[in-house]
C-alpha cells in the first residue's frame, strides 16, 4: 500500500485522476472496498485481478455508470464528483468495454460522431461532407487508415476497436479505460494496438488497461494495481515484481501456472477422423485425427479458420466436401446428431452461444442431457435438480444453488456450467474453443485439470486456443492452421511457441 512512495518517484507529481477510498456495495456483496489509485498523465496503468475482484465495478464507477457509496475523486489535484456518465465525459474519461457499443449498420463516421453529428443545411439532416472529413481527421490521429464511410458491420473485431478508440479520442478523452482490449485480437493486431497505445501515451493520454495476460502487463505497463475481492492489494512497478508474485497477489495463494498433465504414453483408439473437410465458411482440405486419451491443440491466428473447423465437425455449419468419421462411423448432420453421437462443443462466446443467461444454473446443466436422463420423454424436476447439484459439487461451481440465474456467475463458473452440461450428456469428444478466454488464473488451472481428468478417463479433447503457452503445456500434439488450411502438425516434442508462430504466420 505504497501510493506515497510511488508518487514520489514520478516525474509529474500531480495525478491526472486520483481515487481515494472508493467503496461500492451491492446487496450481499462489497464490490469495491476502500480502493485508492492514481493515474498519471501519459502512463499505462495495468489493472489486474481475478474475475470478481472488482475491476469491472471500478471501471463502471470511473465512467459514471455506478455511483460510489463512499470515496473521493481528484482531477489534477482538484476534488471532483463523478455522478453520471456526463460527469466522466467532461473529465475526459472514456471506457472501451469488451462488448463494443457501436451501431453495426451505421458507417464508421456516423459511429464516431453518434449523437454529435454536424448538422446539414436542411434541419434534421447530417452534413455528410463535414462528418466524413472530421472522421478522417480523427482516424488519422490514431493512424488508422480506412474509408470512414465503411459500414461498421463489415469490420473485424480489431477494426471495430479502432473505431471505438477513435470515438473516444474525438470526445477529447484524456483517460482511456480499456477492458482486455487484446482478448479478441490476433498477435499482429495486438502489435498494432500496442503501437497505438504508445502513440496515445506520447500525446499525454493515460491508459487504464485491464488484462489477464501476464506478458502484456510487463510489455506495456508503467504501473500495476492489483485488486482482489474488491480491495486494492498493491500498486507496483513492473520492474519490481515477477509474474509469480503478481499471480500470488491476485489469487492470495500460490497457483501453479504450468498446468501439469498426466501425458499418456500410448494414446487410445482413433475417436475422430476428419478427411479432406471443406466448408463455405472458408476452410478447405482439413485432415485431423484425435485419439482417445489425447488433448489435441488447434492453433493459428484468429481468423485462420480454427472455430470454423470446430463448427463444421459439430455440424453447426454445412460441410461442402470431405468426411467426418466419429467412433468408427461416418457422420453428417445438424448439431443435435453430433451431440447424440457424443461430441461436445464448448463455444468461444459462452454468453451468446453456450448458455441461456437468464435461465438457471440447473436448467443450463441438464439441457444437453435431457434425452439421456429422461429416456421416456417425461421430465422430472427432482431428478434434474439432483443431477445438476451433483455437477455443481463435482465441478466446484461457485453458486448459491442450482436455481441461481447463470448470468450472475463469474466467467470461470459460467464456463464450468458449459462443460458440465456435456459431462451430463456423457460426451466422448470435447471440442474447446478458447476455453480460458476471460477466465481468471485460478479457474484456468481448474479447467485444465478437468480436461486432463476427462481424457485420462478415455474421452478426447480438441482444443483451440490463442494462448500458445497453454497449448504447449497442455496438448499432446497440435495442428496449426493458416488461411483456412492445416499448415502443419507438431508432435509433443516439437510443440513450442516458436514453432506454432512460425507455422501460423502469413507469408505475405
Amino acid at each position: 500500500m505504497s501510493t506515497a512512495a510511488l508518487t514520489a518517484d514520478t516525474s509529474s507529481p500531480v495525478p491526472l485522476l486520483e481515487l481515494r477510498g472508493i467503496s461500492k456495495e451491492f446487496p450481499g456483496v462489497k464490490a469495491l472496498d476502500d480502493v485508492s489509485f492514481a493515474v498519471f498523465p501519459g502512463e499505462v496503468h495495468m489493472l489486474l485481478g481475478e474475475n470478481g475482484a472488482g475491476k469491472s465495478s471500478l471501471m463502471k464507477v470511473l465512467c459514471g455508470a455506478y455511483r460510489a457509496d463512499a470515496g473521493e475523486f481528484y482531477h489534477e489535484g482538484e476534488k471532483v464528483a463523478i455522478n453520471s456518465t456526463a460527469d466522466a465525459q467532461k473529465l475526459g474519461i472514456a471506457v472501451i468495454f469488451q462488448e463494443f457499443s457501436l451501431v453495426p449498420h451505421l458507417d464508421i463516421a456516423q459511429n464516431i460522431f453518434l449523437g454529435r453529428e454536424p448538422k446539414g443545411r436542411i434541419p434534421g439532416t447530417i452534413d455528410r461532407r463535414k462528418i466524413l472529413a472530421d472522421a478522417t481527421r480523427v482516424l488519422g490521429m490514431i493512424g488508422f487508415e480506412i474509408d470512414p464511410s465503411t459500414i461498421v458491420d463489415k469490420l473485424g473485431v480489431a477494426q471495430q476497436q479502432m473505431v471505438e478508440i477513435a470515438k473516444a479520442i474525438s470526445q477529447n478523452a484524456r483517460i482511456l479505460v480499456m477492458d482486455e482490449p487484446s482478448a479478441a485480437l490476433s498477435d499482429r493486431e495486438t502489435e498494432l494496438l500496442f503501437a497505438l497505445i504508445a502513440r496515445l501515451k506520447a500525446d499525454g493520454v493515460s491508459i487504464v488497461y485491464i488484462s489477464h495476460r501476464m506478458a502484456e502487463v510487463f510489455a506495456l505497463g508503467d504501473r500495476i494495481t492489483v485488486l482482489r475481492d474488491g480491495r486494492r492489494i498493491d500498486g507496483v512497478r513492473p520492474a519490481d515484481v515477477t509474474p509469480d508474485q503478481l499471480v500470488r497477489m491476485m489469487v492470495g495463494r500460490n497457483v501453479d501456472m504450468t498446468y501439469p498433465r498426466n501425458f499418456a504414453d500410448e494414446p487410445g483408439e482413433v475417436l475422430l477422423e476428419v478427411k479432406g473437410l471443406s466448408a463455405s465458411t472458408g476452410i478447405s482440405d482439413i485432415n485431423i485425427e484425435v485419439r482417445r486419451g489425447e488433448i489435441v491443440g488447434l492453433c493459428g491466428l484468429v481468423g485462420s479458420g480454427r472455430s470454423e473447423v470446430a463448427r463444421a465437425i459439430f455440424g453447426a455449419d454445412p460441410v461442402s466436401a470431405g468426411e467426418i468419421i466419429f467412433d468408427g462411423k461416418a457422420m453428417s448432420g445438424e448439431p443435435d446428431l453430433a451431440a447424440r453421437r457424443g461430441i461436445a462443443l464448448i463455444p468461444e462466446s459462452r454468453k451468446s452461444e453456450g448458455l441461456a443467461l437468464l435461465r438457471s444454473v440447473g436448467d443450463n446443466l441438464v439441457v444437453s442431457a435431457l434425452r439421456k436422463l429422461f429416456p421416456s420423454g417425461l421430465f422430472d424436476q427432482r431428478r434434474a435438480q439432483r443431477t445438476s447439484e451433483g455437477l455443481i459439487r463435482q465441478l466446484r461451481i461457485a453458486t448459491p444453488g442450482a436455481r441461481q440465474i447463470v448470468g450472475l456467475l463469474s466467467g470461470g463458473n459460467q464456463q464450468k456450467v458449459v462443460i458440465g452440461k456435456w459431462l451430463a450428456a456423457g460426451s466422448k469428444l470435447f471440442i474447446f474453443d478458447e476455453p480460458t478466454r476471460g477466465i481468471d488464473v485460478g479457474a484456468k488451472s481448474e479447467i485444465f485439470a478437468l480436461i486432463d481428468r476427462l481424457v485420462a478417463e478415455g474421452a478426447a479433447a480438441l482444443m483451440i486456443s490463442s494462448e500458445q503457452v497453454e497449448i504447449c503445456h497442455v496438448c499432446d500434439r497440435a495442428y496449426v492452421m493458416r488461411e483456412g488450411r492445416i499448415a502443419g502438425h507438431l508432435a509433443r516434442s516439437e510443440l513450442t511457441e516458436e514453432n506454432i508462430v512460425r507455422l501460423g504466420m502469413h507469408h505475405a
Binding site: 451491492f26 450481499g28 477492458d179 453447426a316 437468464l358 439441457v367 434425452r371 436455481r403 466467467g411
Partner: protein
Amino acid sequence: MTDISKDAIAPPRSFLSQDAIQAFYRLLAALLICAVLAVLSDSFLSLGNILNVLRQASLTFFIASGLTLVVLTAGLDLSVGANVALSACIAGTVIHKTGSPALGILTGLACGGIVGLLNGIMVTALRIPSFIATYGMLWVLNGLTYWYMAGETLHGFPAGFRQIGSGYLFGLPIPVYLLLVFLGIGTLFAQRTIWGQEIYAIGANPVAARLSGIPVARRLLLVYAVSGTMAGLASIIFLSRLNSAEADIGESLTLPAIAAVLIGGTSLFGGVGTVFGTFIGALILTLVLNGMNLLSVSANWQPLVTGIIVILAVWLDMKTRRRAQ
C-alpha cells in the same frame, strides 16, 4: 467479464419458482376482479353467469394455449384467427357434404395443423421471421376463406355435433371439460416433458439451444403445428356453438388470444411463461368483458380496457422480474 456475485454471495432464491409466483399473483388478480364484480353486480355470482364466463374463456384459451408455446420460443403466430375461420368453414362443409361430424372434426383439426406446419416450415426452412411469416399467412388464409365461401354462410349442423359447444355434462358446459383437459395436457407438455424443456431453452437462447444439441428446427415445426391444431380445435367449438360459419369469424380472435398470452405472463422475448398463466390471462380478459356487460358499460369501451390491462400486466411483470434478478 467480471460479475459482482462471484461466489455464493447472492441471496438464495425462494423455494417457489418465479413462474409459480407470477401465476399466484395472476390468480389473485382474477379473484380480486371476481370480488369487485360480485359486489357491484348481483347477477355476477349466479351459476349461469360463472359457467358462461368459463365457456367464453375456453374459446380464447384454446387458441391462446397453442400460441403460448409459439411465444415461449420467442415467436408469434398471427394467423390463428384466420386459421380458425378457414378450418371452421372447411369442417362445416365436410359435415354438410358427408353428414359425419367425426369426419368434419378430423378435417378441421387437420386443416389447422397443416396451416401451422406451413407456418413452421416458413420459419425454419425459409428462415422468415415468425411475425412476418404468420402475418402473410393471415392474408393468404383470409383470401382462401373468402374465395371458398364466396359470401355464403354455412348453418344448421346435427344436434349431436352442436352438443360439443353448447351441451352440458353433469351441469357443466362441455367446453369447460375440454378446457380443463387441454389445460392439463398443455401444462404437462410444457413442464413435464423434455420437449417442453427444449422449447423453453430455444426461447431463452436459440443459438445456444442449437449448439447444445437441441433439434431446434424440429421443435419449432412441432410448436407451430400444435398452435395450428389448437386453432383447428377452436374452430370446431366455434362451429358447434354458433351452429354456423362465415368467412369473417376469425377476425376478432387473434388479438384477444395474444392479449391472454401477455396478460398470462408469457414474455414475447421467449423462454418465460406458462400455459396456466395463459388460462388465467384468458379468464381475466373474459371476466372484465363480462363485468362490463353486467354493469351495462358500452361495448365500445372494451378494447380500451383490454389494452390498458395488457400494458399494466406486462409492466408489472417486468418490474417484479427485474427485482427478482
